[in-house]
């Protein structure tokens, strides 16, 4: 309970006053309204109520003076691995659509707060890339301090992870002795796995249809692996496909078209510039890195102009973090497209705000500063696309979740409490310490079952083999 005491003071003020007025800031709306110098944004009940110049608020409104500051929509990360407990990869099966990120969101993960401090307000939390068809993804709002269920962005379409290439095929991985090699081992095998899975899903869909139409008397048993695939076929679930090479990208688009569904986003997509027209024609979005490449064999043909070239070809492009902490400077990552490929300022800012919102199907609610949208806002001290930009205040649904001044205060109180607790715990009667170690020594926090999840072997395997990119 006291965990949220940090925020209570800040949050309480915003709860009491229904209205907040941010004034005199340079407002980047990422909408038709463009940039408003000395602009104001009025927030009422967590939503943006008005945007313009010289707005008036009610007498009890909280006023935030934005003099000399820069206001942008909250940053959105279309590919995050934030706040996941117990591993981001259910790597065992080639089709692991049964696994759900929403089951393992850890609202206590302090990375959430660290990312908010970097201006991030929304993250599309993805399953890892070890499988052709991976687990179900979850869009969260970074409402740090609230329980997991309240982090989930209600109204955001559900999603799923696909992965192509080296990670699901794993043929270049040296396995520990005695471990069987999992099918598939080639890119064509990956496509076969996807095709087979959707063939199974169609059959399952037919079984249910027949039952619902009364053609069969006994309901089929629910299959949690195939259910999400049926949702994809029905256009209800977004596919986020990890992909690198032009050939696998086109192969996936064709396979999807064969089964009559769309790929929502191609993730990483470092060779996307080679097949941008094909991507545009299919209607898939592209979520890429700014200038990271050559970390593995399928990432050699990458160029930093990728985002810009795809953007020019009419593809909806975003820049993502693929991590639990890189999103703290996603604004700077977006700015790199201005240097490489001469992207316009507005287009660059959209790479981490409106575009990912569109890719995630949440652009009606977030992604720009427009009337009616959620008040997810970042107030920077410098131009948001500058390396000097540091968020001063970050707001989600009109509540301040990060305030740089309050943060400094908070750090002092944390240090104080820590020192007090260390002293107190030393005086605690030590009688409870078992004289002999139990069968499993209790880890620092977490129950035996949850916490002894042996992350080590995974990290070993992944870090060394995939250079940190197995999360992708």
């Amino acid at each position: 309970m006291k965990r949220i005491v940090y925020f209570s003071l800040i949050v309480a003020t915003s709860l009491i006053s229904q209205e907040i007025l941010i004034k005199n800031a340079t407002v980047y709306t990422v909408s038709k309204a463009g940039t408003i110098q000395k602009g104001s944004v009025l927030i009422r009940d967590g939503k943006i109520a008005a945007v313009g110049k010289d707005l008036k608020a009610s007498s009890n409104a909280q006023i935030i003076d934005g003099e000399g500051l820069f206001l942008t929509p909250g940053i959105i990360d279309a590919h995050s691995h934030l706040a996941v407990e117990g591993g981001v990869n259910e790597s065992s099966l080639s089709v692991s659509s049964i696994a759900r990120i929403q089951d393992v969101i850890n609202p206590d993960d302090k990375d959430i707060y660290r990312n908010v401090a970097g201006g991030l307000t929304i993250a599309n939390v993805l399953h890892g890339s070890a499988n052709a068809i991976g687990g179900q993804t979850q869009v969260i709002k970074l409402r740090y301090g609230l329980p997991a269920k309240d982090l989930i962005f209600k109204g955001a379409p559900t999603g799923i992870k696909f992965a192509l290439g080296e990670n699901p095929k794993r043929s270049n991985v040296t396995l520990p002795p005695g471990q069987p090699r999992r099918y598939p081992a080639t890119r064509m095998g990956v496509m076969d796995v996807i095709r087979q899975a959707f063939t199974d899903a169609k059959e399952y869909q037919t079984d249910w249809d027949n039952f619902r139409k009364g053609k069969t008397k006994i309901a089929p048993v629910r299959n949690l692996t195939l259910e999400p695939l049926v949702e994809i076929l029905e256009g209800k679930r977004l596919v986020h496909a990890h992909s690198y090479r032009e050939d696998e990208i086109v192969a996936l688009l064709r396979t999807a078209e064969e089964f009559g569904f769309k790929i929502a986003t191609l993730q990483h997509i470092l060779e996307g510039y080679k097949v941008a027209p094909e991507i545009q024609k299919h209607g898939a979005g592209a979520s890429s890195f700014s200038d990271w490449w050559s970390y593995k064999i399928e990432a050699y043909d990458a160029i930093p102009h990728n985002a810009s070239l795809m953007n020019q070809a009419g593809v909806l492009v975003s820049i993502n973090s693929d991590s639990n902490d890189e999103a703290r400077h996603l604004n700077v990552e977006a700015a790199k497209s201005m240097k490489y490929g001469h992207m316009s300022y507005d287009d660059a800012l959209a790479l981490v705000t409106l575009n990912p919102a569109k890719q995630l199907g949440i652009d009606k609610m977030v992604g720009s500063i427009e009337v009616g949208k959620d008040a997810d806002l970042v107030l920077y001290n410098h131009d948001p696309l500058s390396v000097y930009a540091v968020p001063q205040k970050v707001m989600i649904d009109g509540k301040i979740y990060f305030d740089i001044a309050a943060d400094a205060q908070k750090n002092l109180s944390v240090e104080k409490e820590k020192a007090e607790l260390v002293a107190k715990l030393k005086t605690r009667t030590d009688a409870n310490r078992p004289s002999t170690p139990g069968p499993r020594p209790n880890p620092r926090i977490g129950s035996d079952f949850f916490e002894t999840f042996d992350q080590e072997w995974k990290e070993d395997l992944f870090c060394h083999v995939f250079n940190h990119f197995d999360n992708e």
Binding site: Q179, A431, P441
Partner: protein, 451 residues
């Protein structure tokens, strides 16, 4: 438990009784402070036990002529202590339970292709069938006042059916109070890259699918048994058979949790299982009464409170959350008492009864009432595990599992004087003098944590 098992164990029991027929097993304990737990304390009362059961309890009973008289002046009589959940290794002989021998070679390990292969699932096994207990360990727990224990084999995502055993010597099937008590779940599945499930979310999804399959299987089997003609026979699935049998007996699931997010997630998950369930561990329960209080979910609170891991790198400064957790975890029982969350004490990971009692003492120091402490050590575990009519309190008709002490059990100077198990008396030898435990933990050298 199947009827044959009941018959066999009662026969064994009877023969055991017969062998000891020179012992009348009729005891009259008088002038003793009786803490029945189910009712008010009797400052000077008597209890009559015979043939392993409690015959009468009261302030002014008369001793029958054939009874052995025990004068309990200045002593206190409690129901035998009950560890609500401990790893089977707390009592088992070194190698733990043997694998069942069926006389045919075991199937070779199969590659798991999905949930239907039922990875790490042992609901078809009954731990009691293979228990080999260590007499020294039994004696140690008995001497500490624990007359019965709930033993769990944590052998997978779905464990074998657990057992409640008494701590009587010469362990045999007659020591089983409940040969099938509960089914523990876990979240640690495969450990290598190709073993499903090898992530927490995979384990959760696996369990969700399995309990969906169970509900379907039960319906399907029910229909088939009524009229198999014209129906496709249901596929034999030993894990689902095991779960169905456990469900039919009303056995609870026991699910390990620690943090508040884990508690929230587990309540959400388990509510769809169609079973009664208990939460075990629950050490962050002090801040989760909003989740547990109204739902009245039974908890088995692990009393091995978190401390600094002696193997920690001294330069690893614990974060605030970890420090708060270490500080507040022992307040969980008192917080639960105030919020009305049912809780029993689980000694999970504890191997010494002294440590168990010291942990309870710490919870009392944090505000737990002594009444609630004794409840959680006796009657509550009995209630949560469906044994309230046979153990847990000093009441007529219950099993004569009793403890006689010279004080409150959690006080370090208190001695356990005598223990009764199934009406057999065990005198507790004076423990050899042990050197005082140092007050400063050797693993927490002063000053280091503040750096």
């Amino acid at each position: 438990m199947n009827p044959r098992k009941i018959l066999v164990s009662s026969l064994l029991f009877i023969s055991w009784v017969a062998l000891r027929s020179e012992d009348p097993r009729t005891y009259f304990i008088k002038n003793i402070k009786v803490v029945p737990v189910s009712g008010p304390v009797i400052e000077s009362g008597s209890v009559l036990i015979s043939d392993g059961l409690i015959l009468s309890v009261g302030a002014d009973l008369k001793a029958p002529t054939n009874a052995r008289i025990i004068n309990g002046e200045k002593l206190t009589l409690y129901p035998g202590f009950f560890d609500a959940y401990n790893d089977v290794s707390a009592l088992s002989a070194s190698s733990g339970p043997a694998s069942p021998s069926t006389g045919v070679p075991a199937r070779s390990a199969q590659v798991i292709t999905g949930p239907s292969d039922r990875p790490s699932s042992n609901a078809s096994l009954v731990l009691a069938d293979d228990l080999r207990l260590d007499e020294k360990k039994l004696e140690a727990w008995r001497n500490g006042g624990f007359t019965h224990m709930h033993l769990v084999a944590k052998n997978g995502l779905i464990s074998s059916r657990s057992a409640v055993v008494s701590t009587a010597p010469n362990y045999s099937d007659s020591s089983l109070i409940k040969p099938e008590a509960a089914i523990a779940l876990g979240f640690t599945g495969g450990r290598d890259f190709a073993s499903f499930p090898n992530s927490l979310m995979g384990s959760i999804s696996y369990l969700r699918q399995t309990f969906i399959d169970l509900a379907y299987f039960e319906k399907q089997k029910d229909a088939y048994l009524k009229n198999p003609n014209g129906l496709v026979r249901p596929k034999y699935d030993k894990v689902l058979e095991g779960l169905a049998s456990a469900k039919a007996q009303g056995l609870p699931l026991i699910i390990p949790v620690t943090t508040k997010p884990q508690i929230a997630r587990t309540i959400d998950l388990a509510s769809g299982f169609g079973f009664n369930y208990l939460l075990q561990g629950v050490q962050e329960g002090y801040q989760a009464t909003d989740l547990l209080g109204n739902a009245k979910i039974g908890t088995l609170v692990a009393v091995k409170w978190p401390v600094e891991d002696p193997n920690t790198n001294p330069e690893d400064e614990p974060n605030l959350r970890t420090l708060r957790f270490r500080d507040r975890a022992p307040s969980t029982p008192s917080v639960f008492e105030k919020a009305g969350v049912p809780f029993a004490f689980s000694g999970d990971g504890i191997t010494s009864t002294k440590d168990f009692m010291a942990s309870i003492k710490l919870a009392i120091d944090k505000g737990l009432s002594k009444d609630a402490a004794i409840q959680s050590l006796t009657l509550t575990p009995a209630k949560l595990l469906g044994l309230q009519s046979v153990v847990g309190s000093i009441e007529k008709g219950k099993i004569a599992n009793l403890v006689i002490t010279d004080g409150e059990p959690w006080e370090s100077k208190t001695k356990i004087k005598m223990v009764f198990i199934d009406g057999f008396k065990f005198d507790i030898p004076e423990p050899p003098a042990t050197p005082e435990r140092p007050t400063n933990r050797p693993n927490a050298p002063s000053g280091k944590e503040q750096s």
